[in-house]
């Protein structure tokens, strides 16, 4: 790897203040950015929350998931269903259901009318699905590439299911046209800034929580299981629960990220959660640095910013560019941008 440490060396005196500087910039963003740009930034930060989960499972657990879109989607659809119901006049059902020939609300939609149920669902459903799914797979000692392939199949199955059940999911178009959330008008003054700050707060809490988790004995055992699962097992630990808990936490973060993203984007659809978006999520983290929490956030922000800039000008070009970036990072920068920043120390 080329020595690029000169690029970062001169920022060193700033290092202790860097987190506070970034936090101050983050807090001040609503006063400096246009509503459109603020909304973009908030979306990317929601994706950053998901990216943090990938650092936990992929970087430190060695568990490559090509199915994080599923959990992103579970959180996104949970909040979307709630908003669809909240906006409805009494006794009516969403318009897309009428067009599909339904006359009544499906039973499983009904509890989402409750804000409390919805919030609980956003936190619990992705976590539970992640725990049960990974528990079933890891219990059988399936790992590595096989696990990645199974998660990809899960993403494919999930997006196919949503597309095929048009009458209850909105199908390919997904769910959109939201007007309010928990009593706040989405177009109202201050809602954009409020949701942005909420996203920033969740991102910070997730970041700090994971830093602690990775420094704890749990983090040690996760890395130990990644590098020598047999040694861990024959030191008397069962590696499976550590991997399952990590995967469930990553699924929860993906679900929270998906719910926040849906609030900012005003839409959730299969195009955001299927196989290709799930791979893109891994690419953000590969580029930012899969061992680094800060790197993953930077990766999610930069890649999505670049995607936005490039695909608005040359829509065809983006996938090629992302592919090239991915190959570049995997071959030359296995620790991503974070590895570059730490080049001096290494």
């Amino acid at each position: 790897m080329p020595d690029l440490s000169v690029l970062t060396a001169r920022f060193d005196p700033l290092k202790p203040f860097l987190p506070w500087l970034l936090l101050a910039l983050g807090l001040a963003a609503p006063f400096a950015l246009s509503a459109y740009d603020l909304n973009l930034l908030a979306r990317f930060m929601a994706m950053g929350i998901l990216a943090l989960g990938l650092v936990l499972i992929w970087g430190h657990g060695g568990i490559l998931s090509l199915g994080q879109g599923v959990f992103f989607g579970l959180g996104g659809y949970a909040i979307a269903i709630h908003m669809k119901l909240a906006d409805l006049p009494q006794g009516e059902i969403p318009d897309f259901m009428v067009w599909s020939g339904r006359t009544s609300l499906p039973l499983w939609w009904q509890p989402f009318a409750s804000p409390v149920f919805t919030l609980a669902a956003i936190l619990i459903i992705p976590t539970l699905v992640g725990a049960l799914f990974s528990g079933a797979v890891f219990h059988r000692r399936v790992g590595g590439t096989y696990f990645a392939l199974i998660t990809q199949a899960l993403a494919l199955a999930f997006s196919t299911l949503i597309i095929s059940r048009q009458d209850v999911t909105g199908g390919f178009n997904g769910l959109t046209d939201f007007y309010s959330v928990f009593g706040f008008g989405l177009a109202g003054p201050g809602t954009g800034s409020g949701l942005y700050w909420l996203t920033l707060a969740v991102l910070c809490v997730a970041f700090i929580g994971l830093r602690w988790l990775l420094a704890s004995r749990f983090g040690m055992l996760l890395r130990a299981s990644r590098d020598g699962e047999n040694r861990v097992r024959f030191l008397g630990y069962s590696p499976t629960p550590f991997k399952v808990v990590a995967f469930a936490i990553a699924a929860m973060l993906a679900g929270i990220g998906g719910a926040l993203f849906t609030l900012h984007a005003g839409v959730v659809s299969p195009a955001l959660i299927g196989v290709v978006p799930s791979i893109e999520m891994v690419v953000w983290v590969a580029i930012g640095g899969r061992y680094s929490l800060a790197g993953a956030i930077v990766g999610a922000l930069l890649v999505n910013l670049a995607r936005d800039a490039v695909s608005s000008a040359f829509p065809e070009l983006w996938l090629y560019l992302m592919g090239a970036l991915f190959i570049f990072v995997v071959t030359l920068l296995p620790r991503g941008l974070a590895g570059l920043a730490k080049g001096k120390a290494a």
Binding site: R217, F218, R223, D227, R231, L235, P241
Partner: protein, 252 residues
């Protein structure tokens, strides 16, 4: 089993067969180990020595026979439960955890409560720290405590893994080729280390470096083609024509 031997008997491998679809890695194999004993198992390649370790720690499951530890059948227990009963193994290729520091490797080994929901603390509790520092001193790695275990020299990795196995507090230590890849000086140190374990531990050593086996001066069990062949002092075994034949490769 005779009643009088029970108090001394720690491990009993009783008629164990490991069948890899027709190939018997262990074939009706039996042996016993008493508390505090050090025993060396030798045999040509493919004799079933490592399979014996695999069987005792639950990595492979016998198709016939029993493994008794302190009188209790363990051949169907989950691996981590076997460790909890007091058996720990050093693998042939050093099995240290490469991205953790030497100290953290030992801290994980010294940990008694290994349940996941008790793992969210940061740092090493005082009583475990003591065991960790002791283990570091025993194998002479105190000055290397902070480095990543993956950066250690090969011999140091072997010692670290021996220290980890010791730090688990296990009563029965299985050391699978602890001197593999070591020079004569390192081999002697390893022998001292094992002899220094004293009477409190029962040790089963697998090796085929005869000078090392002589330094251990322990009873030897010879295996051949998954079967028990001979047992006795190193001198007895050396003088045995059957053992010589096996090692020279023209056994019946």
């Amino acid at each position: 089993m005779s009643g009088s031997a029970v108090s001394d008997l720690l491990l009993s491998v009783d008629g164990v067969t490991i069948d890899y679809s027709g190939f018997k890695a262990l074939d009706n194999f039996s042996m016993t180990l008493n508390r505090g004993e050090t025993r060396v198992v030798i045999g040509p390649n493919g004799a079933g020595k490592s399979t014996l370790c695999d069987t005792i720690i639950g990595r492979v499951r016998p198709s016939a026979g029993r493994v008794l530890f302190k009188g209790e059948e363990i051949q169907r227990l989950a691996e981590q439960k076997i460790v909890a009963r007091g058996i720990c193994r050093k693998f042939q290729a050093p099995g240290v955890l490469p991205t953790l520091s030497v100290r953290d490797n030992l801290a994980l080994a010294a940990r008694r409560d290994r349940r996941w929901w008790k793992s969210f603390g940061i740092g090493i509790p005082a009583d475990e720290r003591l065991a960790v520092e002791e283990a570091l001193d025993t194998v002479g790695l105190a000055h290397r405590a902070q480095v990543e275990a993956g950066t250690l020299a090969h011999g140091e990795k072997q010692w670290l893994e021996i220290a980890m196995v010791m730090a688990t507090g296990a009563e029965l230590l299985l050391l699978d080729e602890p001197t593999a890849g070591m020079g004569p000086a390192e081999t002697s140190r390893t022998a001292e280390l094992i002899l220094g374990l004293g009477d409190s531990r029962t040790v089963l050593v697998i090796d085929h470096d005869m000078s090392f086996v002589e330094q251990l001066a322990a009873p030897v069990t010879v295996m051949h083609q998954g079967k028990f062949l001979k047992q006795g002092s190193i001198a007895d075994v050396r003088a045995d024509p059957e053992v010589a034949a096996v090692y020279l490769g023209h056994a019946k």
